[in-house]
């Protein structure tokens, strides 16, 4: 049987969150990914983030496309509904679901094949539509599930396991998101949980489309010398532009900052994100400057990471559609059907 139930073991002394839940309550089924796959570390970071945010498990909706990365939603929060849809089309499912029920916390997990090739259109339009969700792209530069073909995020010169060299320019999802007007754009690394967790938390709290590109190495097909998405390459070329600290409403500030280096951004629920610039001349709230700066970092062969851009979310799908505040699914039929009297009236217009 290919389904593996994970035994829930509760240990004495496990820390509980505000809901009295331990991180184990945010786990899902046992992962069936390759041992060491970056995606599993993203799962662990997500579990940590949900736990720290005191999220009610069943109020989360987990969505994905198809790919190794898209299997991830199975591995966290088993008490949440999950939707493993079709390749590259998760954004439209998320948009429709969100249109119907705006009250849930949406998290979409995708891959670089899923979001940048077959699903590039839907990815772009989800950004434009500003669907209120956390969108995590587990980026490994290859198609894992179909065994190692180059993906659209593979860098020029990157070598496949078989030794082929990629000659086509990559699509950088961070640049795409910035260009299309995303209001929350981050990049991180599956191997850097300390950086990733607060970014995911901030993304979950962001009141709009929050995009996180996570370099998430594929140990089986793209972790060799010559790959630019391997653990070793990412570790040595990662350039943290901004450090992020997420401060939930109730928590005290854990980090000390030097005067003048911190920018605090309030989230809609009262929590805040503290952005500490590592690069002095970087402004994570200036879209155009960010695009330019990130370009220059890339030109130096480095991978810019951190919460790279953050702004007021602006109008999301619901605000520009002017929908009612309550979820559409909660409206009673009586509120929706105009009734026989109106039908008689309408038909008077029909000549």
């Amino acid at each position: 049987m290919s389904y593996i139930t994970k035994p829930v073991a509760r240990h004495k002394g496990d820390r509980t969150n505000g809901l009295g839940l331990t991180t184990r309550d945010y786990e899902g089924s046992m992962s069936t990914l390759c041992a060491g796959c970056g995606h599993d570390s993203v799962t662990a970071a997500l579990i940590q983030a949900f736990w720290e945010l005191d999220v009610e498990p069943h109020r989360v909706a987990k969505l994905s496309g198809i790919g190794c990365s898209s299997k991830t939603p199975t591995y966290f929060i088993k008490e949440a509904h999950g939707f493993n849809s079709v390749h590259g089309r998760m954004p439209s499912i998320a948009a429709g679901a969100n249109a119907a029920n705006r009250d849930l916390l949406y998290v979409g997990i995708s891959g670089d094949g899923d979001s940048l090739s077959i699903g590039l259109g839907q990815f772009c339009h989800a950004i434009r539509r500003n669907v209120n969700m956390l969108y995590v792209l587990e980026n490994n530069g290859v198609y894992g599930l179909t065994k190692g073909q180059f993906s659209a995020s593979a860098d020029i010169g990157s070598k496949s396991k078989k030794g082929e060299v990629n000659r086509q320019g990559p699509i950088d999802p961070v640049s795409v998101a910035l260009t299309l007007g995303a209001t929350f754009v981050a990049r991180s690394f599956s191997g850097d949980k300390q950086q990733l967790v607060p970014i995911l938390e901030a993304g979950l709290e962001h009141d709009g489309f929050a995009f996180v590109d996570v370099i998430s190495p594929c140990v089986t097909f793209n972790d060799h010398v010559g790959s630019t998405k391997s653990y070793a390459y990412t570790r040595t070329h990662m350039h943290e532009v901004v450090q992020t600290d997420f401060v939930p409403i109730r928590s005290e500030i854990r980090t000390e900052y030097a005067e003048g280096t911190v920018r605090e951004v309030k989230m809609h629920d009262g929590s805040s994100v503290r952005l500490r610039k590592v690069d002095d001349d970087y402004d994570p709230t200036d879209r155009h400057a960010a695009i330019e700066y990130l370009g220059s970092v890339a030109d130096q062969g480095e991978i810019a990471t951190g919460l790279l851009y953050l702004a007021e979310a602006g109008e999301d799908l619901h605000r520009f559609s002017a929908t009612v505040d309550q979820p559409l699914v909660s409206l009673g039929y009586e509120e929706l059907c105009p009734g026989s009297e109106v039908l008689r009236e309408v038909q008077k217009e029909w000549w």
């Binding site: 049987m1 290919s2 389904y3 498990p57 069943h58 909706a61 969505l63 939603p73 199975t74 088993k78 008490e79 949440a80 509904h81 999950g82 939707f83 493993n84 849809s85 079709v86 089309r89 954004p91 439209s92 499912i93 998320a94 948009a95 429709g96 679901a97 969100n98 249109a99 119907a100 029920n101 009250d103 849930l104 259109g121 839907q122 772009c124 339009h125 799908l317 619901h318 559609s321 002017a322 929908t323 009612v324 505040d325 559409l328 699914v329 409206l331 039929y333 509120e335 929706l336 059907c337 105009p338 009734g339 026989s340 109106v342 039908l343 008689r344 309408v346 038909q347 029909w350 000549w351």
Partner: protein, 635 residues
Amino acid sequence: MVTSGDFGVNDFAFKVATVNGTGSASANGLLLQALFRMGIPVSGKNVFPSNIQGLPTWYEIRVNKDSYTARSPDFHLVVAMNPQSYGRDIEEVVSGGWILYDDTKPLEEELVRDDVTFLGLPLAEMCVREFEGSRTRILMKNITYVGALVALLDIDVEVVKGMLQEKFSHKQHLMEANFRAIEMGASAARERFDCPLPIRLERMDATSDCVMVTGNAAAALGCVYAGATVGAWYPITPSTSLMDGFTEYCERFRVDPETGKKKFCIIQAEDELAAAGMVIGAGWMGARAFTPTSGPGISLMSEFIGLAYYAEIPSVFFDVQRTGPSTGMPTRTQQGDLMLTAYASHGDTKHIVLFPADPKECFEFAVAAFDLAERFQTPTFVVSDLDIGMNDWMIPRLEWDDEYRPDRGKVLSAAELEEAESFYRYLDVDGDHVPYRSLPGVHPKGAYFTRGSGHDKYGRYTEGSDEYIEVVDRILKKVESAADSVPEPEVLAGSHGSNGAGPSSRGELSNGAGPTSYDARYGLVSIGGCHWAVLEARDELTRRGLDVDYLRVRGFPFNQTVEDFLVGHERIFVIEQNRDEQLRKLLTIETGCPKEKLTSITYYGGQPLSKGHVLEGLAQHIDVPPELLPAGAAP
């Protein structure tokens, strides 16, 4: 052809040939509406190009005192306003008919026919004299030909004026200009010709219980009444006006008066794939969601349709068919998507499909589709066509039962989940093949993983043969069991209803079982918009003593009534609007009827079906009284 003394009174067809983008559409609408308000049964068919401005366009109107309003290609009068299409237009008038044209420029010699009467009026010249500005002159020329028709056909001028008053109540100068154009056209016609013509109108009282509406507007209203809250779409002719209608009605009836906020969400998607995804996402959440599209959209949506089928997510798809394959003829009608919708998507799939024959059924089947989709937790299609969707049809006034409540199917509430010992999404608890559903966000016990990949009855991922087969077999039984819940076929047997006074039926949604034995040798089977032409043809045959039974399929999967009808006749003629005999093939695949028994009569040229297609088709196989056939068509 009627040969009595009142030849042509309230029984003729005419068409107006113009250039698209010149404002003729509103003049033609005015004409149709005037005839309807005179109480005369009427239909209008807009034959338009896939183009915004400058190409030939036609508007065909048929008046028929007996309420036969299928398309008639026998035009007694052509209003030829477009020199580009003179040749074809003049050719299409029946012998003894009339041609109204603009003789500001003389007609070319070779176009002249001596078996028809040419009625020339210098319309352009008149408008130049009477009106200022080139745009106004072009627009008023349309109203001027309406004026000429007022005199020629004896249209009640007060009715026309009344409509203009309604339309231009806030634009006095436009109303006056329109009045002048009507008067000018009418008096010019009276001066020159013997008015009215033998084809003319007389007031009746046959439309007072009717309304005139397009299938798309009716379907849109059906979606509102069904309680649909999410609509996603990508514009495509001929389905666009369905979402336009939904938007309009929602803006009127679904906006909170206090906050101004909307109890609906309409998303114009980036393509049909995304539109389908949105519908599925919303359906998964428990909203009633739909997308209107046409064949090309269904092709794109296919992958998602399979997902909704296998993951059992209620979703409603409107396919307003147009002429395929590929882009085909986007502004012409066809029934080319019967196979496509019945089995859309790869792998083993089969869907619930409803086939309305007119706007009344578009409204009713829209509501039924949401109920079926939720009851059976599966994609459900409402398949109409361009003719039904975009043309104005005369239908009995729609009715609504305020007692109606949506059938949401088996959805577990938070309380039920709380009490349940366990919940497994795909378990056939009741033995009726329909499992229970839980909605996201309701209760932790309801959580499960929705997926298009292999799953067992507990909702768990599987690659195991037996577990996989168990689920797909149940889904097949579930969809097949919907055969008794889709609208019953309409059956007309023997001389039932053919009393010579108009169409022998107008289908009511009923779920009673049909007859199981039949006397007639022959049976006709048809579908959707073919209905009205088939009915007219059958009535004529019946009046001449040739009994043929008739069944109109209204839903798929087919039920026992369909099977019994096929079995109960020596020979069946399947009448449909596609080249590949798709309905006949569906019937052979899905029933036990031997295929030799079924003979197809197809027409797929893009125009709505007319009785001539049916009678000529039948004449290829059986003895049809020759007087029913156009000259030269008898075998």
